[in-house]
Amino acid sequence: MAPWTRIALAGLTFVVTVELGSRLVIALDVGRSVTESVAPNVLTATGTPIAEQVNALTDTHTIGERLHPFVGYLPALTHVRAEGPITLAAQREAHAPGSPLFSRDPEDLIVGIAGGSVAYQFALYGGGTALAEHLAAQAEFRGRRPHIVVLAAVGMKQPQHALWLAYLLTLGARFDLVVSLDGFNEVAMHATENEPYGVSPVYPRYWMQRVGPAVAAPLLGERLYLVARRADIVRSFLGSPAQHSGAAQLVWLLRDQAARRAIEDVEGRLRGLQRFEDLEFATQGPVLAGATQSELADFQAAIWRGAALQMHRNAAANGARSYHFLQPNQYDPGSKPLSASERAAAYTAGHRYGKHVPEGYPRLRAAGAELAAEGVRFHDLTRVFEAVTEDLYVDDCCHLNQAANLRLAAAIAEAIESWGGR
């Protein structure tokens, strides 16, 4: 044979072997036409709506709340109107000229109320006005004009109140008295709202739902890029005459497979965000890895105690007096004889929040005793409804009716009076 014949024979053998071999592999592995079914399928499937993935990380619980640079979040409060002696620190009006929050008039008596939703509802639904009236009647505050400034917001928990106070003081706000009514959120919410995502009990509620989309953004962007690259590979393949070659189809299948693996890898990392174990400290906050339930409860009580102490010190350094009240709750055994209607409407055995109270509240009471020993004006209100048989609780979380708020206002005013000017 002539040399060119041998070379042609070798080339032909190679091409036929590769082509027929590739077709055999595709027939065995894929079983259908790569160019007619598989590749166009990939092309049409690459337009995944990214919004769906962001939505999977968000949560309806945070609607109506806005990330705040120093407090974690604040309620938007767009449809709430403060009346009478009430001012809402999270509203624009509180920061406008003439607001009592920045008053320098010695006749004004500025009373901050801090806490979560129970404190917020207390301030707005009867308790705030009643407390203002009680205080105005006390000898120490005679002739003063009480203003109730509401720092409390739904779902807030320490150390948010402490930092909210520090932030307002930084802006030049004035407080004469700061009344904190809290304790429940601090022990009840973590287990369902932050712990499942590996987020610290110190952080505001639903922290993952608030920052998750931002944390996921780089990965979502990377995924978007990889999806576009996979689409480019299939477009260039389908636009080329080589698509009819079995060998080219095998090469494309391998390239597509690598592109798909890269996308799956980044999607795996996105799924990893559902648990924060491997995330950076800034997102996760201080957590007790491998802690028992008891150790976690100790940690939560310590956070509450530390925040109360800092509020006390910060208030004192700014000419204000801080009063810390441990709020009552129906899941605290012996705290209230529940009526039949309260048992039906306001008590659920094993409630996701309430079930943490029997373990958490004794720790808060012990921490409160330590605070009192350190000079903090701590008052335990967990037994304030101990002998009250009328309906006070309105839901199976923790919330109270107006009658209860009026009782709390009287108890808080009495405690403030009992301390005198101390």
Binding site: L9, A10, D29, R260
Partner: protein, 44 residues
């Protein structure tokens, strides 16, 4: 003219490219996953 028995054999010109081609295809087949033809997974 070269004597017939001293002419290079023609079959290696078929066998060698066949083996190379077959080896390439086998490598490709080995790299290809069983689910290579799957489309896109909408997973998060």
């Amino acid at each position: 003219m070269i004597p017939r028995e001293t002419q290079p054999a023609w079959w290696p010109w078929i066998l060698v490219p066949f083996l190379i081609g077959a080896a390439l295809v086998l490598v490709g087949a080995a790299l290809l996953e069983g689910d290579a033809a799957q489309g896109f997974q909408y997973a998060l």
